[in-house]
């Protein structure tokens, strides 16, 4: 299983599943991070603690723990 955390900079992926529930899932969905959405990894913060992805035209910052919950496949 590959998650968003495993992706390198400039890598484009498609979301397969959100391995979370409740508030966090709602939050991700309201940012457009949902099944079938295409994400592009833009940047990692020092020590890969935080990761910036592009969803549509929006840039979202996620912490490593959260990125690890997003199951993706490379496109």
């Amino acid at each position: 299983m590959k998650t968003l955390l495993d992706c390198h900079k400039a890598c484009k992926v498609k979301v397969l599943k959100l391995n979370t529930s409740g508030d966090l899932k709602q939050r991700l969905i309201s940012f457009g991070i949902m099944k079938e959405a295409v994400l592009e990894v833009l940047e990692h913060a020092p020590a890969k603690s935080t990761i910036e992805v592009k969803v549509g035209k929006m840039r979202i910052a996620l912490r490593a723990q959260e990125a690890d919950l997003i199951e993706v496949e490379k496109i």
Partner: protein
Amino acid sequence: MNNLEIKACPIIANHIKVALVGQPNVGKSMLINSVSNAHLHVGNFSGVTVDKTEVLFDYKDYHYTVVDLPGTYAFTDYTIEERVTHDYLCAEDYDIIINVVDSTNLAKNLQLTSELLTMSKKVVIALNMSDEARKENIEIDAEYMSELLGVPCIKVSAATKEGIEELIEAVSSKHESEKKQPKLIFSEPVEEEIAQLVWYLDKHKFVSKNSYRNIAINLLKGNKNTYASLHDEPIWVELQPILIEASRHIELHHDTTDIKEAFAEEYASFNRGIVAEVVKSKQVQEKKTMTERIDNVLIHPVFGIPIFLFFMWTLFQLTFEIGAIPMEYIDAFFGWFGDTLGATIANEDIRSLVVDGIVGGVGAVVLFVPNIIILFIGIALLESTGYMSRVAFLLDGFFHKFGLHGQSFIPLVTGFGCSIPAYMSARILKNDRDRLLTLFIIGFMSCGARLPVYVLFAGAFFSPEMAGNILFIIYISGALLGLAAAKVLKLTAFKGVDEPFVMEMPKYRLPSVKLIWHTVLTKTMMYLKKAGTFIAAAAMLVWFLSNYPHNLELTKSYETKIEISQDSSVKIKLQHELDEALLEQSYLGTIGKFSEPLFAPLGFDWKMSVALQTGLAAKEVVVSTLGVLYSLGGDVNETSNSLMGAISENISFASAIAFIVVIMIYLPCLAASVVFTREAGHIKYFFYLFAFTSVVAYVMAFIAYNVALLFS
């Protein structure tokens, strides 16, 4: 029925109440500002508006009340501000919704729009930032969009004020027209289930002011209010099994067990359809946007943090260097003003009150206006360019180690300006524990009101070249201390799971000069107003406490001594001794002497002890108190007539360091304490804060004093 309607809608005929709703950072507050010439605070990150604000204005035949609601990404209660918006939209009385959307990012914004459209309220969509969209070659067919959605869509730009009148016209004509059902179409399986429920409601002639379709959608979405209102109805018994079956079908269709996720996907596909129909984008996909190019540098994994530190260092250098230029003039002006004014007053007591008390106290505070202005400009730039969120991104990993959230950074930086808005902006943190933790350490970020104290002491004890660096060190060490305190609190009082970090990074925007000017002007005027009212009153009180009670015996005994002495230098010396003795036996002197033993281990004399106590009201009062005490006490002589000189002569280096440390850490001010208590939710937290900051301040000052003693 008629009676009922009047009850449900107490709004008078020519009055329109508008709820302004949109995702964060789409320019809602700015739109209100350009519609009504109001002056709401505007920034470039989510969470600037944390509470609803009402703005009133008249246009043609109507009075308008516009309620500016905090931005919300979707109809959830994720953060406090989102809850404010959600509760308002569901429970309050209003006529119409203006949904503000960002034209440059329609797909994302429509996510909220589609939820609003299911609310059975009149909606007008404001396609904001259309000037920016044009620049990015994004063309939106607003007319076609109005037709597709069944609600008016108006292109506007809050920045250039285009389309504002059309928007208001659209609101009034929508208000006058009959309520129409917006056209929100779901996928076939969902539409089938909706039809099924509508059919059932229709069959039973169910009475409701909302449309059947609306009820059906809300039932399927699991809307609590709709459930609550139907739950006591007789048809519920039959409705329930149908509903369970319908939900299961939809979940099956979307391959999920979460109906909310299913609906989010429904909305997303509907929105994709709308965007594909109405948006013509000529953008070349692979070209990097300006924001991405800037980000390559500013959030670089290696250079990002040093660049940030450099910006902060520059800010404090400028604060001191440029701020020092007009200080001399202001100081000279108040000296001259006091003397001129004093010459016209015959009564000695009143003259002393006016010159030493009011002019001296207020002047000491006004002196620092240039520094304050520069600091506020810096913070306004940080807020309005979008850099703030980048720093949150860079620092989250670091902050997280201390138990803080990356988004805590935003209230913390705001805290460098003033603690009050900082306490309020902590609402962007969802988790109560994280929010409380952030509230507790906001005070460690030295606010603008403490700047005068720092500038005074840095100027008194360090060369002008060093003073800017010292300021930077004070602010940074305050912040680091705050982080350490956060770690301690996280390990003890606020144990618990971490809140996830998911945050939007806004586009970089060039801040408009007007906006910066406005923000800085408002804050500076507030500072001056405070100096003229609260600080002046406090200075008068301090003057009174330091002049009374009069001790005639003491005065007489000294006066005879002065008269018999021949040497003029002895005369002056005796006069100083008299002043000092009078001050010591005043009310303030008594208080100071009483508390002196407590502060003695930190190397403070009684005047410093008193200044710290009056500083609980506001930090500017520390400066004005010192001003009054040192000018009355006869310490000011010909060679050093400024407060800075008096301080460098009367206070030892080590005591000064300890004094700065206490100022850095202890309670910000009375007003901030009130806001803190409100935001924390209980008075007990205030006592915790008071105890916590006092103990930390005392211990740290004690250490600093003894370390400084070793070096001096």
